[in-house]
Symmetry: C2
DNA sequence: GCACCATCTTGTCGCTGTCAAGATCAAGTT
DNA sequence: AACTTGATCTTGACAGCGACAAGATGGTGC
Protein backbone atom coordinates (compact mmCIF):
# COMPACT_ATOMS: atom_id res chain seq x y z
CA UNK A 1 0.00 0.00 0.00
CA UNK A 2 2.24 2.79 -1.20
CA UNK A 3 -0.49 5.41 -0.87
CA UNK A 4 -0.59 4.99 2.91
CA UNK A 5 2.32 7.34 3.29
CA UNK A 6 0.05 10.22 4.22
CA UNK A 7 -1.58 8.43 7.12
CA UNK A 8 1.13 9.62 9.46
CA UNK A 9 1.93 13.21 8.55
CA UNK A 10 5.16 13.33 6.57
CA UNK A 11 7.99 14.21 8.96
CA UNK A 12 8.33 17.87 8.19
CA UNK A 13 10.88 19.57 10.36
CA UNK A 14 9.12 20.13 13.65
CA UNK A 15 9.82 23.83 13.52
CA UNK A 16 7.60 24.33 10.49
CA UNK A 17 4.53 22.50 11.69
CA UNK A 18 1.83 24.31 13.58
CA UNK A 19 1.43 21.37 15.92
CA UNK A 20 4.65 20.01 17.26
CA UNK A 21 3.25 16.51 17.61
CA UNK A 22 5.16 15.39 20.67
CA UNK A 23 5.85 18.57 22.53
CA UNK A 24 5.38 17.13 26.00
CA UNK A 25 8.13 14.56 25.63
CA UNK A 26 10.32 17.01 23.76
CA UNK A 27 9.99 19.43 26.68
CA UNK A 28 10.95 16.78 29.20
CA UNK A 29 14.00 15.69 27.21
CA UNK A 30 15.19 19.22 26.54
CA UNK A 31 14.57 20.18 30.16
CA UNK A 32 16.76 17.26 31.22
CA UNK A 33 19.59 18.55 29.07
CA UNK A 34 19.25 22.12 30.33
CA UNK A 35 19.00 20.92 33.93
CA UNK A 36 22.23 18.98 33.82
CA UNK A 37 24.19 21.59 31.90
CA UNK A 38 22.97 24.82 33.53
CA UNK A 39 21.17 23.89 36.73
CA UNK A 40 17.55 23.84 37.80
CA UNK A 41 17.17 27.61 37.72
CA UNK A 42 17.90 27.60 34.01
CA UNK A 43 14.94 25.30 33.31
CA UNK A 44 12.31 27.82 32.20
CA UNK A 45 9.20 27.48 30.06
CA UNK A 46 10.24 30.31 27.81
CA UNK A 47 13.78 29.08 27.41
CA UNK A 48 12.66 25.58 26.49
CA UNK A 49 10.09 27.03 24.07
CA UNK A 50 12.83 28.97 22.30
CA UNK A 51 15.07 25.91 22.05
CA UNK A 52 12.25 23.84 20.58
CA UNK A 53 11.02 26.54 18.23
CA UNK A 54 7.55 26.85 19.68
CA UNK A 55 5.75 29.83 21.13
CA UNK A 56 6.47 31.00 24.65
CA UNK A 57 3.12 29.81 25.99
CA UNK A 58 3.12 26.36 24.39
CA UNK A 59 4.63 24.57 27.43
CA UNK A 60 1.74 25.73 29.63
CA UNK A 61 -0.59 23.44 27.70
CA UNK A 62 1.33 20.37 28.82
CA UNK A 63 2.24 21.28 32.40
CA UNK A 64 0.06 23.20 34.80
CA UNK A 65 3.09 25.15 35.96
CA UNK A 66 6.86 25.00 36.07
CA UNK A 67 6.90 22.85 39.21
CA UNK A 68 4.88 20.19 37.47
CA UNK A 69 7.57 19.86 34.80
CA UNK A 70 10.29 19.70 37.44
CA UNK A 71 8.33 17.02 39.30
CA UNK A 72 8.30 14.98 36.10
CA UNK A 73 12.07 15.32 35.83
CA UNK A 74 12.43 14.26 39.46
CA UNK A 75 10.21 11.24 38.94
CA UNK A 76 12.33 10.19 35.96
CA UNK A 77 15.37 10.59 38.18
CA UNK A 78 14.00 8.32 40.89
CA UNK A 79 13.05 5.78 38.25
CA UNK A 80 16.57 5.85 36.83
CA UNK A 81 18.07 5.54 40.32
CA UNK A 82 15.86 2.58 41.20
CA UNK A 83 16.78 0.92 37.90
CA UNK A 84 20.47 1.53 38.48
CA UNK A 85 20.27 -0.05 41.94
CA UNK A 86 18.32 -2.99 40.56
CA UNK A 87 20.84 -3.56 37.79
CA UNK A 88 23.75 -3.38 40.20
CA UNK A 89 22.22 -6.01 42.48
CA UNK A 90 20.65 -8.39 39.99
CA UNK A 91 22.66 -11.52 39.40
CA UNK A 92 24.97 -10.97 42.35
CA UNK A 93 24.70 -12.69 45.74
CA UNK A 94 23.01 -10.67 48.53
CA UNK A 95 26.31 -10.40 50.37
CA UNK A 96 27.59 -8.10 47.61
CA UNK A 97 24.46 -6.01 47.31
CA UNK A 98 25.57 -3.36 49.73
CA UNK A 99 28.91 -2.89 48.07
CA UNK A 100 27.61 -2.92 44.49
CA UNK A 101 24.44 -1.02 45.24
CA UNK A 102 26.27 1.61 47.23
CA UNK A 103 28.67 2.09 44.38
CA UNK A 104 25.81 2.37 41.89
CA UNK A 105 24.11 4.95 44.11
CA UNK A 106 27.24 7.07 44.27
CA UNK A 107 27.79 6.76 40.54
CA UNK A 108 24.26 7.89 39.81
CA UNK A 109 24.78 11.05 41.81
CA UNK A 110 28.16 11.77 40.28
CA UNK A 111 26.81 11.23 36.77
CA UNK A 112 23.66 13.31 37.21
CA UNK A 113 24.52 15.83 39.91
CA UNK A 114 21.89 18.43 39.09
CA UNK A 115 19.23 15.79 38.72
CA UNK A 116 20.17 14.27 42.05
CA UNK A 117 20.04 17.58 43.87
CA UNK A 118 16.66 18.41 42.37
CA UNK A 119 15.15 15.04 43.24
CA UNK A 120 15.61 15.86 46.92
CA UNK A 121 14.66 19.53 46.71
CA UNK A 122 11.09 18.67 47.51
CA UNK A 123 10.22 22.30 48.14
CA UNK A 124 10.16 22.65 44.38
CA UNK A 125 7.06 20.49 44.09
CA UNK A 126 5.50 20.48 47.52
CA UNK A 127 2.00 21.51 46.64
CA UNK A 128 0.28 18.50 45.13
CA UNK A 129 3.18 16.14 44.65
CA UNK A 130 2.25 14.02 41.61
CA UNK A 131 1.47 10.34 42.04
CA UNK A 132 4.25 9.09 39.80
CA UNK A 133 6.89 10.97 41.80
CA UNK A 134 5.72 9.31 45.02
CA UNK A 135 5.66 5.91 43.33
CA UNK A 136 9.12 6.09 41.78
CA UNK A 137 10.71 7.54 44.90
CA UNK A 138 9.33 4.82 47.12
CA UNK A 139 10.45 2.23 44.59
CA UNK A 140 13.96 3.65 44.88
CA UNK A 141 13.68 3.61 48.67
CA UNK A 142 12.60 -0.03 48.64
CA UNK A 143 15.68 -0.88 46.57
CA UNK A 144 17.72 0.93 49.19
CA UNK A 145 16.16 -1.14 51.96
CA UNK A 146 16.69 -4.35 50.03
CA UNK A 147 20.27 -3.28 49.55
CA UNK A 148 20.91 -2.55 53.20
CA UNK A 149 19.07 -5.63 54.55
CA UNK A 150 20.47 -8.05 52.01
CA UNK A 151 16.98 -9.41 51.35
CA UNK A 152 13.60 -8.32 50.06
CA UNK A 153 11.98 -6.28 52.82
CA UNK A 154 8.35 -7.23 53.34
CA UNK A 155 6.93 -4.03 54.60
CA UNK A 156 3.48 -2.77 55.40
CA UNK A 157 3.52 0.77 54.02
CA UNK A 158 0.94 1.82 56.61
CA UNK A 159 2.75 0.82 59.75
CA UNK A 160 6.31 1.20 58.50
CA UNK A 161 8.71 3.21 60.67
CA UNK A 162 12.29 4.08 59.84
CA UNK A 163 14.83 2.38 62.09
CA UNK A 164 18.25 3.60 63.14
CA UNK A 165 19.93 1.14 60.82
CA UNK A 166 18.13 2.36 57.71
CA UNK A 167 18.50 5.96 58.79
CA UNK A 168 22.24 5.49 59.28
CA UNK A 169 22.89 3.92 55.89
CA UNK A 170 20.64 6.26 53.98
CA UNK A 171 21.90 9.35 55.81
CA UNK A 172 25.52 8.42 55.28
CA UNK A 173 25.29 7.85 51.54
CA UNK A 174 22.94 10.78 50.94
CA UNK A 175 24.93 13.05 53.19
CA UNK A 176 28.22 12.22 51.52
CA UNK A 177 26.63 12.73 48.11
CA UNK A 178 25.20 16.11 49.06
CA UNK A 179 28.40 17.30 50.69
CA UNK A 180 30.28 16.42 47.53
CA UNK A 181 27.74 17.87 45.10
CA UNK A 182 27.48 21.06 47.15
CA UNK A 183 31.22 21.49 46.96
CA UNK A 184 31.93 21.16 50.68
CA UNK A 185 34.62 18.57 50.06
CA UNK A 186 36.20 19.81 46.86
CA UNK A 187 38.92 21.74 48.62
CA UNK A 188 40.36 18.71 50.28
CA UNK A 189 39.60 15.81 47.95
CA UNK A 190 38.97 15.05 44.26
CA UNK A 191 36.24 12.92 42.77
CA UNK A 192 38.20 9.68 42.59
CA UNK A 193 39.32 10.11 46.18
CA UNK A 194 35.77 10.94 47.21
CA UNK A 195 34.53 7.75 45.60
CA UNK A 196 37.19 5.73 47.43
CA UNK A 197 36.50 7.43 50.76
CA UNK A 198 32.76 6.98 50.48
CA UNK A 199 33.02 3.31 49.58
CA UNK A 200 35.33 2.82 52.54
CA UNK A 201 32.88 4.64 54.78
CA UNK A 202 30.01 2.43 53.66
CA UNK A 203 32.09 -0.70 54.21
CA UNK A 204 32.91 0.30 57.78
CA UNK A 205 29.36 1.37 58.40
CA UNK A 206 28.00 -2.00 57.43
CA UNK A 207 30.75 -4.13 58.90
CA UNK B 1 27.00 67.73 77.82
CA UNK B 2 23.27 68.02 77.35
CA UNK B 3 23.57 70.00 74.11
CA UNK B 4 25.17 67.04 72.32
CA UNK B 5 21.75 65.59 71.51
CA UNK B 6 21.84 66.86 67.95
CA UNK B 7 25.07 65.13 67.10
CA UNK B 8 23.21 62.00 66.10
CA UNK B 9 20.17 62.90 64.00
CA UNK B 10 16.94 62.72 65.98
CA UNK B 11 15.37 59.30 65.40
CA UNK B 12 12.66 60.19 62.92
CA UNK B 13 10.73 57.17 61.75
CA UNK B 14 12.95 55.55 59.18
CA UNK B 15 10.20 55.65 56.57
CA UNK B 16 10.22 59.43 56.41
CA UNK B 17 13.91 59.99 56.03
CA UNK B 18 15.47 60.14 52.60
CA UNK B 19 18.38 58.09 53.84
CA UNK B 20 17.45 55.01 55.78
CA UNK B 21 20.60 55.12 57.84
CA UNK B 22 21.22 51.44 58.32
CA UNK B 23 19.67 49.88 55.26
CA UNK B 24 22.28 47.18 54.81
CA UNK B 25 21.69 45.62 58.21
CA UNK B 26 17.94 46.16 57.93
CA UNK B 27 18.00 44.24 54.65
CA UNK B 28 19.90 41.35 56.18
CA UNK B 29 17.58 41.11 59.17
CA UNK B 30 14.41 41.37 57.12
CA UNK B 31 15.80 38.87 54.60
CA UNK B 32 16.40 36.45 57.48
CA UNK B 33 12.79 36.70 58.52
CA UNK B 34 11.48 36.25 54.98
CA UNK B 35 13.85 33.35 54.39
CA UNK B 36 12.67 31.38 57.38
CA UNK B 37 9.00 32.09 56.90
CA UNK B 38 8.63 31.79 53.12
CA UNK B 39 11.77 30.12 51.78
CA UNK B 40 14.78 31.33 49.86
CA UNK B 41 12.82 32.01 46.66
CA UNK B 42 10.77 34.62 48.51
CA UNK B 43 13.89 36.62 49.35
CA UNK B 44 13.81 39.30 46.65
CA UNK B 45 15.28 42.77 46.44
CA UNK B 46 11.98 44.34 45.51
CA UNK B 47 10.04 42.52 48.17
CA UNK B 48 12.49 43.53 50.89
CA UNK B 49 12.45 47.10 49.61
CA UNK B 50 8.66 47.19 49.92
CA UNK B 51 8.77 45.79 53.46
CA UNK B 52 11.33 48.37 54.51
CA UNK B 53 9.63 51.27 52.76
CA UNK B 54 12.51 52.12 50.45
CA UNK B 55 12.65 52.28 46.68
CA UNK B 56 12.96 49.13 44.61
CA UNK B 57 16.53 49.83 43.59
CA UNK B 58 17.86 50.75 47.01
CA UNK B 59 19.10 47.22 47.90
CA UNK B 60 21.35 47.22 44.84
CA UNK B 61 23.50 49.87 46.48
CA UNK B 62 24.43 47.53 49.33
CA UNK B 63 24.74 44.20 47.52
CA UNK B 64 26.14 43.69 44.06
CA UNK B 65 23.38 41.21 43.32
CA UNK B 66 20.86 38.97 45.03
CA UNK B 67 23.39 36.18 45.48
CA UNK B 68 25.64 38.46 47.50
CA UNK B 69 22.82 39.05 49.98
CA UNK B 70 22.12 35.33 50.21
CA UNK B 71 25.81 34.68 50.79
CA UNK B 72 25.69 37.09 53.71
CA UNK B 73 22.75 35.19 55.18
CA UNK B 74 24.61 31.93 54.72
CA UNK B 75 27.71 33.32 56.42
CA UNK B 76 25.59 34.43 59.38
CA UNK B 77 24.17 30.92 59.47
CA UNK B 78 27.59 29.30 59.63
CA UNK B 79 28.61 31.72 62.34
CA UNK B 80 25.51 30.86 64.37
CA UNK B 81 26.12 27.15 63.86
CA UNK B 82 29.74 27.41 64.96
CA UNK B 83 28.68 29.39 68.03
CA UNK B 84 25.97 26.87 68.87
CA UNK B 85 28.49 24.04 68.70
CA UNK B 86 30.96 25.97 70.79
CA UNK B 87 28.37 26.73 73.44
CA UNK B 88 27.24 23.14 73.59
CA UNK B 89 30.79 21.91 74.16
CA UNK B 90 32.19 24.59 76.42
CA UNK B 91 32.36 23.62 80.06
CA UNK B 92 31.67 19.96 79.41
CA UNK B 93 34.29 17.19 79.35
CA UNK B 94 35.48 16.07 75.90
CA UNK B 95 33.79 12.73 76.38
CA UNK B 96 30.42 14.44 76.14
CA UNK B 97 31.26 16.70 73.21
CA UNK B 98 29.97 14.35 70.57
CA UNK B 99 26.65 13.83 72.28
CA UNK B 100 26.07 17.49 73.18
CA UNK B 101 27.53 18.86 69.97
CA UNK B 102 25.58 16.45 67.83
CA UNK B 103 22.39 17.42 69.59
CA UNK B 104 23.19 21.12 69.11
CA UNK B 105 23.83 20.54 65.42
CA UNK B 106 20.49 18.82 64.97
CA UNK B 107 18.70 21.50 66.95
CA UNK B 108 20.22 24.23 64.82
CA UNK B 109 18.88 22.62 61.67
CA UNK B 110 15.45 22.01 63.14
CA UNK B 111 15.22 25.57 64.43
CA UNK B 112 16.40 27.23 61.20
CA UNK B 113 15.47 24.79 58.46
CA UNK B 114 15.45 27.23 55.56
CA UNK B 115 18.68 28.80 56.70
CA UNK B 116 20.34 25.40 56.99
CA UNK B 117 19.26 24.32 53.52
CA UNK B 118 20.49 27.55 52.01
CA UNK B 119 23.88 27.37 53.74
CA UNK B 120 24.64 24.21 51.80
CA UNK B 121 23.07 25.30 48.51
CA UNK B 122 26.42 26.59 47.34
CA UNK B 123 25.18 26.95 43.80
CA UNK B 124 23.41 30.08 44.98
CA UNK B 125 26.67 31.88 45.50
CA UNK B 126 29.22 30.01 43.46
CA UNK B 127 30.72 32.83 41.48
CA UNK B 128 33.00 34.73 43.77
CA UNK B 129 32.19 33.20 47.12
CA UNK B 130 32.79 35.98 49.67
CA UNK B 131 35.64 35.71 52.14
CA UNK B 132 33.48 35.81 55.25
CA UNK B 133 31.40 32.87 54.07
CA UNK B 134 34.53 30.78 53.63
CA UNK B 135 35.82 31.85 57.03
CA UNK B 136 32.68 31.14 59.00
CA UNK B 137 32.03 27.84 57.25
CA UNK B 138 35.50 26.55 57.98
CA UNK B 139 35.16 27.72 61.58
CA UNK B 140 32.01 25.61 61.82
CA UNK B 141 33.84 22.69 60.23
CA UNK B 142 36.66 22.99 62.73
CA UNK B 143 34.14 22.82 65.55
CA UNK B 144 32.77 19.70 63.92
CA UNK B 145 36.23 18.16 63.83
CA UNK B 146 36.89 19.10 67.45
CA UNK B 147 33.57 17.55 68.32
CA UNK B 148 34.26 14.28 66.54
CA UNK B 149 37.89 13.97 67.72
CA UNK B 150 37.24 14.98 71.30
CA UNK B 151 40.16 17.39 71.16
CA UNK B 152 41.35 20.47 69.32
CA UNK B 153 42.48 19.34 65.89
CA UNK B 154 45.77 20.92 64.89
CA UNK B 155 45.45 21.04 61.18
CA UNK B 156 47.49 22.48 58.36
CA UNK B 157 44.83 23.93 56.06
CA UNK B 158 47.12 23.42 53.08
CA UNK B 159 47.75 19.72 53.42
CA UNK B 160 44.53 18.73 55.15
CA UNK B 161 42.63 15.78 53.68
CA UNK B 162 39.28 14.48 54.81
CA UNK B 163 39.43 11.01 56.37
CA UNK B 164 36.78 8.31 56.42
CA UNK B 165 36.03 8.97 60.06
CA UNK B 166 35.27 12.67 59.55
CA UNK B 167 33.40 11.93 56.35
CA UNK B 168 31.27 9.34 58.12
CA UNK B 169 30.26 11.56 61.01
CA UNK B 170 29.69 14.64 58.92
CA UNK B 171 27.82 12.74 56.22
CA UNK B 172 25.58 11.00 58.73
CA UNK B 173 24.50 14.10 60.59
CA UNK B 174 24.21 16.25 57.45
CA UNK B 175 22.44 13.49 55.54
CA UNK B 176 19.92 12.89 58.30
CA UNK B 177 19.31 16.61 58.56
CA UNK B 178 18.75 17.01 54.85
CA UNK B 179 16.50 13.97 54.57
CA UNK B 180 14.37 15.34 57.36
CA UNK B 181 14.27 18.92 56.08
CA UNK B 182 13.48 17.74 52.55
CA UNK B 183 10.54 15.79 53.87
CA UNK B 184 11.81 12.34 52.93
CA UNK B 185 11.16 11.01 56.45
CA UNK B 186 7.98 12.84 57.38
CA UNK B 187 5.71 10.02 56.28
CA UNK B 188 7.16 7.55 58.70
CA UNK B 189 8.37 9.61 61.65
CA UNK B 190 7.66 12.87 63.47
CA UNK B 191 10.18 15.45 64.64
CA UNK B 192 10.60 14.13 68.17
CA UNK B 193 11.10 10.62 66.86
CA UNK B 194 13.54 11.92 64.27
CA UNK B 195 15.56 13.62 66.98
CA UNK B 196 15.63 10.41 69.01
CA UNK B 197 16.55 8.28 66.00
CA UNK B 198 19.32 10.61 64.90
CA UNK B 199 20.87 10.82 68.34
CA UNK B 200 20.80 7.04 68.54
CA UNK B 201 22.41 6.83 65.12
CA UNK B 202 25.20 9.15 66.17
CA UNK B 203 25.78 7.20 69.37
CA UNK B 204 26.15 3.94 67.47
CA UNK B 205 28.29 5.58 64.84
CA UNK B 206 30.76 6.83 67.42
CA UNK B 207 30.65 3.84 69.74
C1' DG C 1 -19.26 18.16 4.89
C1' DC C 2 -19.46 19.51 9.56
C1' DA C 3 -18.40 20.09 14.35
C1' DC C 4 -15.53 19.19 18.00
C1' DC C 5 -11.40 19.56 20.65
C1' DA C 6 -6.63 19.23 21.65
C1' DT C 7 -2.84 21.91 20.39
C1' DC C 8 -0.39 26.00 19.47
C1' DT C 9 0.06 31.39 18.81
C1' DT C 10 -0.41 36.09 20.09
C1' DG C 11 -1.00 39.50 23.41
C1' DT C 12 -0.97 41.10 27.98
C1' DC C 13 -0.15 41.47 33.03
C1' DG C 14 2.65 41.73 37.11
C1' DC C 15 6.65 40.04 38.99
C1' DT C 16 11.73 39.89 39.07
C1' DG C 17 16.98 41.76 38.74
C1' DT C 18 19.75 45.25 36.94
C1' DC C 19 21.42 49.48 35.05
C1' DA C 20 21.63 54.68 34.38
C1' DA C 21 20.72 59.27 35.74
C1' DG C 22 19.33 62.38 38.98
C1' DA C 23 17.98 63.88 43.97
C1' DT C 24 19.25 64.27 48.79
C1' DC C 25 22.08 64.92 52.62
C1' DA C 26 25.98 64.58 55.93
C1' DA C 27 30.69 65.62 56.54
C1' DG C 28 34.79 67.69 55.39
C1' DT C 29 37.35 71.72 52.95
C1' DT C 30 38.54 76.13 51.87
C1' DA D 1 29.93 80.55 55.72
C1' DA D 2 29.91 78.66 51.17
C1' DC D 3 31.40 74.91 48.49
C1' DT D 4 32.59 70.31 47.27
C1' DT D 5 32.57 65.52 47.66
C1' DG D 6 30.80 61.03 48.12
C1' DA D 7 27.61 57.87 49.99
C1' DT D 8 22.91 56.93 49.92
C1' DC D 9 18.48 56.74 47.95
C1' DT D 10 14.76 57.63 44.06
C1' DT D 11 12.91 57.44 39.56
C1' DG D 12 12.65 55.42 35.20
C1' DA D 13 13.60 52.03 31.98
C1' DC D 14 14.63 47.34 29.95
C1' DA D 15 14.62 42.36 29.40
C1' DG D 16 13.31 37.89 31.17
C1' DC D 17 10.18 35.23 33.70
C1' DG D 18 5.32 32.58 34.81
C1' DA D 19 0.70 32.85 33.97
C1' DC D 20 -3.72 33.84 31.91
C1' DA D 21 -7.13 34.87 28.03
C1' DA D 22 -8.60 34.82 23.41
C1' DG D 23 -8.03 33.42 18.95
C1' DA D 24 -5.82 30.40 15.08
C1' DT D 25 -4.93 25.72 13.38
C1' DG D 26 -5.76 21.23 12.04
C1' DG D 27 -6.69 16.34 12.89
C1' DT D 28 -10.65 13.14 14.38
C1' DG D 29 -15.04 11.52 14.63
C1' DC D 30 -19.88 12.24 13.35
Amino acid sequence: MPTKQSAKPPPKPATERYHHGDLRNALIEEAGRVLESDGVEAVTFRGLARRLGVSHAAPSHHFADRHELLAELAADGYAALADALEDAMSGTPPAEWRRNGGRAYLEFGLTSPQRYRMMFASQLFLDECPERLLGESSRAYLMLLKLSYGRDPDIDPESYRVGTRELASWSAVHGAMMLWLDGQLRESVDQAEFMRLSSEMLDELFA
